[in-house]
Every structure is written in structure tokens, then in C-alpha cells.
Point group: C2
DNA sequence: GTACTGGATCGACGTTTATCAATCCAGCGT
DNA sequence: ACGCTGGATTGATAAACGTCGATCCAGTAC
């Protein structure tokens, strides 16, 4: 606990405080963070990041089978990653007949940029 | 891998292709991703995100004791999170006497913006 | 109808992660 | 020298995560 207030003398270092007095502690928007946590969690995997880069490189859509062909992972694993990306709002799926076409949800990517901006303030 | 690609030839479905022909198998540059994965992993925790927001709100530094006082977590847990943030290059620590002062490493935050830009291409 | 195929879901297994209590280390003060 | 204090390190534990094989479901083609 920051108990350094008991001796306010200017003994050796007057500013030997542990930190700045910490006023009002801007506790305000440090609570909106949960929304970004799920987003970052979805991005915190190399496979998922690579999928997103694949989608970003192609402006069009990409079907799941092609995504799957790009990795040495099993089909359930890719399906699992796509599910996480979908639930995070990072990709959108469109069923065309039997095949699923995925597109990047750039609106959610913008949220990542918003986080970067929030931390640059 | 029994699910090997059978390369759906034009059996009967003329244009019912699963996706665009997929030429050149763009396997190229989707490899830079590993660098971003560690960054996102460090961000993929609510506590760590909140610490970063605290640091971003204050332009100055923040000592570990004050960070610890903000959470209901034990001291080793906070120390663990700070370690991960440090190893990810997101914060820089400066030992002043007994206390450790942390500052946000905005250069690394810029890397997050770079990822957002990469995905917006 | 049956047969086939793209994809999701279900268990299960091994690894990683967040958390804690206990301990250890390094400065500071008397 | 001591004691005290801020922080890091060390196990240990429980939850979450990534991966797979097996299975199931929904379209399509025959």
C-alpha cells in the first residue's frame, strides 16, 4: 500500500514520493476495456491473424475450403478459428449454396485502430 | 489429412466454383504475422488493457504500487502482467530507488496501429 | 429416395494462462 | 549490523485454449 505519506519531511529527496499524488485517478473510461479485450483475444493467434491477412489481401471473399488449404491444420481447427473470428465480428460469412464465403469486416478492424488511438492519447 | 484437396474439377457444376481459382497460392507475406501475435497476446487481457489505459491517460509515469492499488488482484499477479507488458515492449520500467516507474511505450502502440492499417488494405 | 461433400459440432487430450500464497532479493532507514 | 518495504520469482492449481478424430447436419447431384 502507498503509505509514504506519514513523513512529509524533506529529508533527502523531497520528491521521493512513490508516485504523483494520484488525483481523481481518471477511473472513467478504463472500464470500456472489456470490449477491446475480446477483440484482442481473437487476434491473439497466429493462425487467425494469418486468415485475416489473407482476407485483407483479397478485397473479395474467400471460401472456407481455400482458407483450409492454406494451413496444415485440420478442418475442425480452421472451423474453430473462423468461429472465433466470426463471434468477434471480424469476419462475416455468407452461405452460397454449400460453400461458405468469408469476408473481412472492416468496421471491426476500425475498432482496432480506435484502440490504438485510445492508447496514443 | 484424409480431407486432402481433390481440386474440384468442372464435373457438372459449370460455374459453381467454390471460390476464385486461387492462383499463385499467395503464401507469400502472410508470415510477418508472428510479430503481431505476441503484441496481440499481450493485449488480450482485460487487466493488462486497463493498465495500458491508465498509463495512456497519464502522460507521465506510474509506479507499480499505484497500479496495484487499482485492482483487486494480488501483487504477484500485477507483477506478472507488468512483466508480460514489458516483454512485449508495451511499457518501459525505470527504477528510481526502491520504486519502479512505468511508462507507456508509444512506439509499440504504433505497431498496433500498423496492424490495423495492414488489415484495412 | 441414396450417395456425396462442405462445414459445423462434439469429446478428449495436451499445453498455455491467470491467479494465488510463500519466498526471495534489493534498497532504504534507523 | 539489523529490520522494513517495494517487487520479482517460485511452485502450485484451476480455467481457458488449440488441436485432433469422429460424428453430425445441410445442400447438391444422381
Amino acid at each position: 500500500m502507498p503509505r509514504a505519506k506519514t513523513t512529509p519531511q524533506k529529508s533527502a529527496a523531497d520528491d521521493a514520493e512513490c508516485c504523483v499524488p494520484n488525483p481523481s485517478t481518471g477511473r472513467g473510461r478504463a472500464r470500456t476495456v472489456g470490449s477491446y479485450a475480446v477483440l484482442c483475444k481473437a487476434l491473439a493467434d497466429e493462425t487467425r491473424l494469418e486468415i485475416l491477412v489473407m482476407l485483407a489481401e483479397r478485397t473479395g471473399t474467400l471460401c472456407a475450403c481455400e482458407i483450409e488449404a492454406h494451413f496444415d491444420l485440420s478442418q475442425p481447427t480452421i472451423s474453430h478459428h473462423l468461429r472465433i473470428l466470426r463471434e468477434a465480428g471480424l469476419v462475416r460469412v455468407e452461405r452460397r449454396g454449400t460453400w461458405n464465403h468469408y469476408t473481412l469486416e472492416r468496421q471491426t478492424v476500425a475498432k482496432l485502430a480506435a484502440l490504438a488511438a485510445l492508447l496514443s492519447t
